[in-house]
Amino acid sequence: MWSKLSIDMEKLEIKKEPIEKEYKELGGRALIAQYLIRNVPPTCDPLGSENQLVICNTIFAGTKLTTAHRLSIGGKSPLTGGIKESNAGGNAAYQLANQGIKMVVVKNIPKEKGLWFAHIDSKGNVSLEDANIYKGINNYEFVEKINERYGDKVAVISIGIGGERLYKSASIQVTEFNSNHPSRAAARGGLGSLMGSKCLKAIVIENPVEKYKVEYADEGKFNESCLKFNKMIAAGAKKDPFHNFGTISTIEATGANGILPVDNFSGKLFPEYQEVGVNKFMTNLSARGGRNKIPCQPGCVIQCSNCYNDKDGKYLTSGFEYETIALFGPNCHISDLDAIAQMDRICDNLGVDTIETANAIAMCMESGKINWGDSEAVISLLKEMEDGTEFGNLIGNGCEAVGKHLGVERIPVVKHQALAGYDPRNTKGTGITYATSPMGADHTAGLTMGRAFEDAGRTAQAYVSNKLQVAICFSDSMMCLFAFAHAANNLPLLGELVASLYGGEADFSRVAAMGVKTLLTERQYNKMAGMTIEDDRLPGFFYKDKSFATGSKFDINDYELEVLFDF
């Protein structure tokens, strides 16, 4: 039976107990939603003792389903003030599953100042260890030290100084499969500062001597469905740009269509977008000994990750993704891929969200504090964040904090969280998702770009956003989003997989119902936290200012946004 690890930071106790029956058949985002609404008061202080950090596996953890080992992390967000689920790849979910642990809950705050990390050893023993010697150490160095102490077969979930300093942009980093680079990020919503408020530096998970054996309702049937599923995803992956090149391939579409944000969502085109596109990226990889087609977790067939080296062939960063490239790149008028890679490395190391940080940097450029396109000035500002200067700490608190401080009018945030790399005027369905998702301006909650073109009309845009937001609620409970993009070809198979694992009807409607319930629970949580329909809006400038590229404004009206979830 799956276990839950409870860590009480006030008593400094850690114990393993059977997971509660009500959460047994849940995982990922669905589990986080149901746990938080029952156990974390929506009006609590996100950095106070009543908030809880929840880390969990997906519904299919421990099985051979491709991308099943996605790690979901949740809590009340210090950035949005609402419910947050943020997920990451890497090897931690897989190691937790091997240990038989479905979920980790971190509660309360220590009575005295200190820093700890949780350790799960190869025999499944759990302990809280003193981490004071690691205070102020960032993720890359921290993981190296942990590898020296426990070997390189461990998985590490950690915070850098971003989390220790309680930055609202703080991420939680996860080590990548094989390489152990702490380059996978549960980035959005400042959950790193929630972890930091608990004085928990890391969770270190050794590979167990004896692997946990999943209990199936019908193992034979599950294996048959799983094989079918994995083959379907692998076939889809072959034609997927993410498998072939990585998420950087997205820029080839957004750059050409006015969806790529440029100069703080000015609506302009960036003619040099291919300088930070696939061809440049692949040329650099090939010339410098970098690699793509890397799985971030065991058994992944999408393999969208990469390892990017500098011009001298030395390792620089991994998991170099579209969002970071778009937002530190054209949105800051920067076309130097190497400089952006350095920014990516700095953010992963410090443990801050690249989307939030890059948007904060754009605020500095919009205000004239630094020039558009000045990548050296950007790196200096990131250094200020590392050094903990007054302005550096402000950047750590994200786009809205910096924008307001500098008197910027056009601040691209929803529910205080910065927009991702898609201009909502030219992908209106995505704009609807940004506005209405309980997660804030989160593209992964329902990016319609590939499924609803602008000539489909407003009704179609809203329809696709609604459908995708529900779908991603169950997808985020089961697997990686990029695998789900290909699973959509045979949704009933998901019902078969759930039934053969947990029993009951092999009916897709139970999966869809889980998605609806998760989304409605999250919306209810946010309502109880004090959010209103006013929080389900884009910033005013997207409604007023036309995109130069297409002439389009975000013209979805308030009523259309309000009725989106009238089920």
Binding site: K239, S249, T250, M282, L481, F484, A485
Partner: protein
Amino acid sequence: MITVNNREINYKIGMSVYDALQESGESINNMTLVVVDEKVIALDKLKDEILNNGMNIKLLHIVSGG
């Protein structure tokens, strides 16, 4: 010969990527990546990009984002 998504079509001197796609009957949209011998060709450059005999064209469709 030119291959388009693993299907062979006859090569003609001066054939552009656009011509090859027309010949093959493959359709593209704003979310399609046109890849020729592992190099991405921008959609507005398809008519300018001239092919050599033996080149391989792959069409990859973006269905997600990240």
